[in-house]
């Protein structure tokens, strides 16, 4: 969970963007050939499907307790994956957990993207005191290890799932700001921008119409990986009691409340972890594949 892609050394330089249509076609072609990315996409699609149709496909209400059926092992009749310590159906809780995790991933990354892109573009385009201030704040944020930063922010906002999403979103802002700012700085002086400026294109259009689309490729890689990371972070926060609150069927919370069963009911401990693992794996596979595809330097 400590992994953050922007701290990895750049494996290649930023893209040199070829003519767009051919690049896009080429990318789709590459995607078809990249088995890992396809596998990732399938996993993601699966979790999205399960999340969206949770009410339809889950066999029980995830909050319904059957105290007499507590800690039933998997393959008990009516409970394919067993029940938890309050006799709630594990499978249904995992299914609803997928829904929650997908929401967490998308919302957190959404927050990070909106603010990251906005701040990054403005700061790179205009420079000056605003840029200096932004970079200082980013430095301070990066001075905190990622997990600690989310914990600090949740401590300010108070423990809840919404606040956990906000905290994760905020913690992920710096990477987008840096990424966008760097490519804005590179593009700002390029010929086509100078040309457009000379024909009177407004600053706003230049920033969001011309420059930003050119760095969407690395951003989409980053965002895909960011979703996986957000799911892990929210699980960690919930585990510490700083995220989702009971009885929410959030995976991290389910793991946290399973601690006392490691001697007696292995399924309560392992299943939510495995669900988290595969969901995050899906995003990592796809993100990695996307990077290989979108970064021509890495193409063999």
């Amino acid at each position: 969970m400590e992994r953050s892609a922007d701290r990895l050394p750049p494996i290649g330089k930023q893209l040199d963007v070829p003519d767009e249509p051919t690049f896009l076609q080429e990318s789709i072609h590459q995607l078809r050939r990249n088995k890992a990315a396809i596998a990732g996409l399938i996993v993601i699609a699966l979790f999205l499907f399960v999340g969206i149709f949770a009410p339809v496909i889950s066999p029980h209400n995830p909050l319904e307790q059957t105290i007499s059926m507590r800690k039933a092992p998997p393959f008990t009749e009516g409970y394919l994956l067993g029940t938890d310590s309050l006799g709630r159906d594990m499978l249904s809780r995992l299914i609803y957990g997928a829904r929650i995790s997908m929401i967490i991933g998308v919302v957190s990354v959404g927050i990070a993207l909106i603010f990251g892109l906005l701040i990054g573009v403005v700061s790179g385009y205009y420079g000056g005191w605003f840029d200096k201030l932004v970079m200082r704040i980013i430095d301070i944020m990066l001075a905190f290890p990622y997990v600690l930063l989310t914990i600090v922010i949740v401590a300010i906002l108070g423990a809840s799932l919404t606040n956990a999403m906000i905290a994760i979103g905020i913690s992920q802002i710096p990477r987008y700001v840096r990424l966008v700012r760097a490519s804005v700085l590179a593009e700002k002086e390029s010929d086509y921008v100078t040309a457009e400026r000379s024909i009177g294109t407004s600053n706003f259009e230049l920033m969001f119409g011309s420059i930003l689309p050119n760095c969407l490729a690395p951003i989409s890689v980053q965002a895909t990986l960011g979703v996986g990371e957000a799911i892990l972070s929210s699980a960690a926060l919930s585990f510490l009691g700083l995220g989702a609150q009971p009885p929410t069927p959030e995976w991290g919370l389910m793991i946290a409340s399973s601690r006392e069963f490691i001697t007696s009911a292995w399924w309560i401990v392992t299943l939510p972890g495995i669900a988290t693992l595969f969901a995050v794996l899906g995003f990592n596979l796809f993100g990695d594949g996307l990077r290989d595809i979108l970064d021509p330097k890495l193409r063999d």
Binding site: P145, S258, G273, N284
Partner: protein, 338 residues
């Protein structure tokens, strides 16, 4: 060189001031009254008011901030609200445990990570490569605390190979010297000729170190592999090969040395990140370190303790990154020119 170092160090100061301010804001803005937590179910009004004024909680925020910054400048984190002891003293007692754990986690991650990375790169597209890289992907996709629980379930509960927590067998008449237990138990061994202390502390170290080291292990393996692949494509490697130098020698003598450069950066960064990852691992393995302590301090609204703990970790993180950057710039002078 000196100029670069000085510049980096001078940039450190505003960052640290910012960090301290953010930490202050954290406690000032967060809900919950420490006086209330301290007094518990039984408090009465007079007691609460008295305690609040003793803790300085009734002063204006700006005044609290002034006092706080002044104290921070003198490395005075104040007294823990909960225990009434000096925060710096508590940190001094607990931090070695965390550093020791992070060190061994990193040792495990680095050794194994580099070996796996090199093996995958040199045997590209074989089953070794595929298994390692799929394994590495699993490694970075796993919740650490879950892995810790599963390891405990398998190796402590199921197989009974390792103890479930703590740092050393409780029954031993053992008194810490430096608080780095592996070091202390080594001293015991040398001094008394009895290795049982060392064996016990190593046994307690293994599971937490493996749990904490898994993510860095996966990352290091991936980075080593890609960096190694990059280097193996370079001209000088090709030249060496064509000059008839044995492949093993080419890989380990020439390529590896250069391929490790980016790996060093990663190791530094991961070490810093481990310090906070320890919050989860320590909670599970009852490891008496600073991570678990910070978490409990947040729960108890023990402001000075939270401030001190978070500051110490953030500062360590910044310092480790600084050292790594400087080291990196020594090996790779191009950086300095940027």
């Amino acid at each position: 060189m000196l100029k670069y170092v000085l510049k980096r160090v001078s940039l450190l100061i505003p960052t640290l001031i910012g960090v301290a301010t953010l930490v202050f804001a954290m406690v000032a803005l967060s809900p919950g009254d420490p006086a209330r937590v301290m007094l518990g179910e039984r408090a009465n009004k007079a007691q609460l008011e008295k305690l609040r004024s003793e803790l300085g909680l009734d002063r204006p925020l700006i005044e609290q901030y002034g006092i706080y910054m002044k104290n921070m400048a003198q490395f005075d984190f104040g007294e823990s609200i909960k225990t009434g002891r000096k925060v710096s003293e508590e940190i001094k007692e607990l931090y070695p445990a965390t550093i020791e754990l992070a060190f061994f986690a990193m040792l495990f991650a680095t050794t194994l990570g580099i070996i796996i990375g090199v093996l995958s790169a040199t045997r590209r597209n074989t089953w070794i490569d595929y298994t390692s890289m799929v394994g590495a992907l699993f490694g970075v996709s796993m919740p650490v605390f879950w892995l810790a629980l599963v390891l405990m379930m398998i190796f402590s509960v199921g197989l009974n190979w390792f103890p479930t927590g703590g740092r050393i067998n409780i029954r031993y008449y053992f008194e810490a010297i430096t608080n780095f237990y592996i070091l202390d138990t080594l001293i015991y061994w040398v001094r008394d000729g009895d290795p049982k202390f060392l064996i016990s502390s190593l046994k307690h170290m293994i599971l937490p170190a493996v749990a904490l080291g898994t993510i860095p292990l996966a990352i290091i393996a991936r980075v080593t592999r890609s960096s190694m692949l990059e280097v193996l494509k370079q001209d000088y490697v090709k030249t060496a090969r064509s000059a008839g130098i044995a492949e093993k020698r080419v890989v380990y003598r020439y390529a590896l040395k250069n391929a490790l450069l980016p790996v060093v950066t990663i190791i530094g960064l991961q070490f810093g990140l481990l310090l906070s990852g320890a919050i989860l691992t320590e909670t599970i393995f009852a490891w008496p370190g600073i991570g678990k302590w910070i978490y409990k301090a947040i729960e108890a609204r023990d402001y000075p303790a939270v401030q001190g703990g978070v500051l110490v970790i953030a500062t360590s993180f910044v310092l480790i990154n600084l050292v790594v950057d400087i080291l990196y710039s020594i090996v790779n002078p191009k950086i300095r020119l940027q």
